[in-house]
């Protein structure tokens, strides 16, 4: 007999690795995603219709199929309808769903365990609880719950529904809660019997929910991508726990793969912002060090008019646009592309400078600008664009702040000190489109705005760009 189930799982596992590998290259990325999706489909079919003994339709198929159909329809609709700017919170929401699934599996398996080894007949043998099963069940439960709750909070934060929330000695309380979770889970193992352990089990769930809340609440909006990436790897680990429980290799491989890849991705993102992971988790951004830079500048801000900027750009030979989160918020990517086209038609060389952490997620700007059909080759990464600023006539900073803050280079007391930035001050003219003089996500002043070469064009990014487009057309 052919081991169809094993073959299905093998195809699934291999395509996950292959798909993730292909997603690491711009040219093959989309295909890679499809390869992984195909592998997932094969693995699901294998789970539904085969056991290790051969063809066997799974019990309760009607409920499973109904749930899969409902999930497919709703998932597709949600994913198709979401605005490009809202992509990060969508990813967070779907991530939470995976965590919830893992937690639910653990709850059911726990009940199962109670009914089999905790039944009155087996009561006297307390050692009957197989620790090999207990650990993956509890780990899946705890990690899955934290990931679910954390992702929902992250989703709410990116939506703007939930604000930052800090209270004193939060780190200590977090640590205490974490220790309590492990403690209760440990006691639960020792006290395993039908009456008490359910109580401990629910306490564990409750504490995990509390921890999930405390974990994400204090973290600032700009650090959300890092947190989502971390929660993503948590869910991976939760899925891997299921793999241990069922000795299921495709779950194990997929889960661990995401767990490790997600962790590395998190670290890479932190590095791009020159923050340590610890620093992000404690929620250090904001508050700190805000005072030192404010008075140091002493200059005044120069406000400019759209007409002047339009003239400046039209007769420039090279313009670099630096997009930031303000562009995303204002949905200004299409107008931005229009401006780019107009200038190109006038013979101006237009490029985009993409900072690794511009926006709310690494690569956020690329996705956004690609949506409005900006040529992929025009999006230049920081290392490659920085030498070009010296030969640039006009730099147009659209809703970016911290990624162009020279304090990262000059002021050791600044919280972003050491973060690589775009060297826009090398250019001949700097124009900053900004709603107000409000500080960026790091909560610090930007002395670039006081630079003699820098002009400020206040207003919503989309409205300002539209004005520029009109002015350039009118010239």
């Amino acid at each position: 007999m052919m081991p169809y189930m094993e073959i299905g799982y093998l195809i699934g596992s291999v395509s996950f690795v292959l798909g993730l590998k292909m997603m690491g290259q711009p040219d093959s990325a989309r295909k890679g995603n499809l390869v992984a999706a195909f592998g997932m489909a094969v693995a699901v079919i294998a789970a539904l219709f085969f056991t290790s003994k051969g063809f066997h339709v799974i019990s309760n198929l009607q409920y499973i199929v109904a749930a899969i159909v409902a999930g497919t329809v709703i998932g597709t609709l949600m994913a198709k309808r979401v605005q490009m700017t809202a992509m990060p919170e969508m990813v967070s929401l779907f991530n939470g769903m995976g965590g919830l699934s893992a937690a639910l599996i653990s709850i059911i398996e726990w009940r199962h365990l109670l009914h089999t080894s905790g039944s009155p007949e087996a009561m006297d043998q307390t050692a009957a609880l197989p620790i090999g099963m207990y650990i993956p069940i509890m780990a899946g439960l705890i990690i899955g719950t934290i990931s679910f709750v954390g992702s929902i909070v992250a989703w709410g934060k990116l939506n703007g529904k939930i604000g930052d929330f800090r209270f004193p000695s939060q780190q200590i309380i977090n640590a205490v809660v974490l220790v309590a979770i492990l403690g209760v889970a440990y006691i639960n193992y020792g006290e395993f019997n039908a009456t008490h352990s359910s109580l401990y089990f629910f306490v564990t769930i409750g504490l995990a929910i509390v921890y999930g809340l405390l974990f994400v609440f204090p973290i600032g909006g700009a650090d959300m991508p890092v947190v989502i990436s971390l929660l993503n790897s948590f869910t991976g680990v939760a899925a891997a726990c299921g793999g241990f429980l069922y000795q299921n290799k495709v779950m194990l491989m997929g889960g661990v793969l995401v767990g490790s890849a997600g962790t590395i991705l998190t670290v890479v993102m932190c590095k791009a912002m020159n923050r340590s992971l610890m620093n992000v988790l404690i929620g250090m951004a904001g508050g700190n060090g805000g005072g030192s830079t404010t008075s140091a500048t002493g200059g005044s801000v120069r406000e400019v008019q759209a007409t002047d900027v339009a003239v400046m750009m039209k007769y420039a030979s090279k313009v670099i646009i630096v997009p930031g989160y303000g562009l995303a918020v204002a949905q200004a990517q299409h107008v931005c592309h229009e401006l780019e086209n107009l200038l190109e038609a006038e013979g101006v060389d237009v490029k985009y400078a993409i900072h690794p952490v511009a926006g709310r997620m690494p690569g956020h700007m690329n996705v956004l600008l690609a949506e409005s059909n900006v040529d992929y080759d025009k999006l230049i990464e920081m290392e490659h664009i920085n030498p070009e600023f010296a030969t640039t006539d006009v730099v147009l900073v659209v809703g970016a702040n911290d990624v162009v803050n020279p304090a990262a280079k000059t002021d050791p007391s600044s919280p972003i000190y050491g973060m690589p930035i775009l060297d826009v001050d090398q250019a001949k003219q700097i124009i900053v489109l900004k709603r107000s003089m409000k500080a960026g996500y790091a909560g610090i002043e930007n002395e670039l705005f006081f630079h003699p070469k820098c002009g400020m064009l206040f207003g919503d990014a989309k409205a300002s760009l539209q004005k520029l487009v009109n002015e350039v057309k009118a010239l």
Binding site: L20, M23, I228, G236, G254, L257
Partner: protein
């Protein structure tokens, strides 16, 4: 000593259950994951995170197995299991579709022009 004994017992139990080779698998996959992500341009970080997000939707398989084991008169397990399958599917489908939408935009223009 008690703890060391407990760990030894655990490993022995895993060996009995044939789970030990799964631990080897875990270690190897950790290295594969690190290797895959380490040299990726930052442009692709968001789609990659989203793609990885879809892949851990493999937890859906676990939800399906749970449902397969649930007895038809165990209502609570069936309700929770169906919910687990549903949210697992959301994770998988939503994850892959969102990733596809992101990556769709990375197509280079010149290629498109040649085709049309």
């Amino acid at each position: 000593m008690e703890y060391i004994q407990a760990i030894i017992d655990l490993i022995a139990q895993y060996e009995q259950q044939n789970t030990l080779n799964l631990i080897y698998l875990v270690v190897l996959m950790i290295f594969v994951g690190i290797e895959l992500i380490s040299h990726v341009p930052s442009v692709l970080h968001t789609p990659l995170m989203s793609g990885a997000n879809a892949i851990h939707g493999v937890v859906l398989i676990g939800a399906i197995i749970v449902m397969g084991n649930a007895s038809p008169d165990d209502t609570l397990s069936l309700v929770f299991g169906t919910l687990a399958v549903f949210v697992g599917t959301l994770n998988v489908i939503g994850g892959f579709v969102v990733t596809d939408r992101m990556l769709e935009m990375f197509k280079k223009k010149p290629k498109g022009e040649k085709v049309s």
